[in-house]
């Protein structure tokens, strides 16, 4: 897989993870899509920690893409 493809995938993953974080923060467990971890029928609990975890991973993907698109000798 080329560097360019990996960088695009990292950015796409970052966007998806940050969006997932927002969904976790604003939607109660009962309203989450059934494929998402934390979905629970009838529950009004907000999975704040799941959101933080997704957000951190998203930021991590962005940072990795940022370094990979920097100078060629970057090691990160």
């Amino acid at each position: 897989m080329s560097d360019r493809t990996i960088n695009i995938l990292l950015v796409v993953a970052g966007v998806i993870l940050v969006l997932l974080a927002i969904v976790y923060w604003i939607e109660p467990a009962k309203s989450l899509p059934s494929v998402m971890p934390g979905h629970e029928a009838g529950s009004t609990h907000h999975h704040v920690k799941h959101g933080i975890a997704a957000f951190l991973l998203g930021i991590g993907a962005f940072v990795l893409a940022w370094f990979r698109t920097g100078p060629r000798h970057s090691a990160a």
Binding site: K49, H50, I52, A53, L56, L57, G60, V63, W66, F67, T69, G70, P71, H73, S74, A75, A76
Partner: protein, 292 residues
Amino acid sequence: MADPISYGQAVVLGLLQGASELFPVSSLGHSVILPQLLGWDIKQNDDFFIVFLVATHLATAIVLFCFFLSDWMKILRGLGRSLRDRDLGDDPYARLGWLLVVGTIPAGLLGLLLEHALRDLFASAQSAAFFLMLNGVMLYGAERLRRRAPVVDSSEDAVASDVRIGETVTWRNACAIGAAQALALIPGFSRSGATMGGGLLVGLSNEDAARFAFLLATPIIGAAAILKLPDLLGSAGNGVRGPALVGALCSAFTAYLSVRFLMRFFETNRLTPFAIYCVLAGAAASVWLATT
């Protein structure tokens, strides 16, 4: 109604928390076992006790941050410069900073996702005593299995230590050591013990492993405390804030003494005494709890 934690209990638990958080002997394990041994009606999953722990953890994180303040300033500058240039360059503090980030992410994720499940599963003092013994075995095993550590001149300064850490620890090592911190979610296992042991296994000296463990502990302890700060400030903190403040001050006091002592101790000593302590204390607590 009486306060859930008295000021006397807050002093004892605060002093214990500050020391045992940084010594590789499991603060959570001790805070589960000690109230049981003393006959106090305090359990680790009680809301008021979690609020109390938030305050003591925050105090410990602040002390750690202040103790290594000059390192953190260089690390933060290194992180900022590397982000701006999109390159780590030759700055050892940029590399050390990103090693700490890479080590913190898996610990943070595992903590966020597994904390409640593990605490509920291993909430008893008996299990904490058992895992304290295993923690001792883990510390001893790390000393036995360690690679040959570099000979370190103890008169060298902190910069040399930070540079050595950056040169020795790989990204994969940092990720594994960071993930090992999640062991501390099980009462009885020590976060600093896991990170120090991991540091030894990747070739750090005891002194450098301790420095890396304390640097790695600061963001995760601080973040965990800040995440639960609303509990302390909300209704769950009613009746606990006074003892929590006293406990936090006591915790800060012993945390400062502990980190100062441990940084000197590991210039010439090993994890073995703490391994022996954990095995003996865990065994003694197991026997005591089984017979009373």
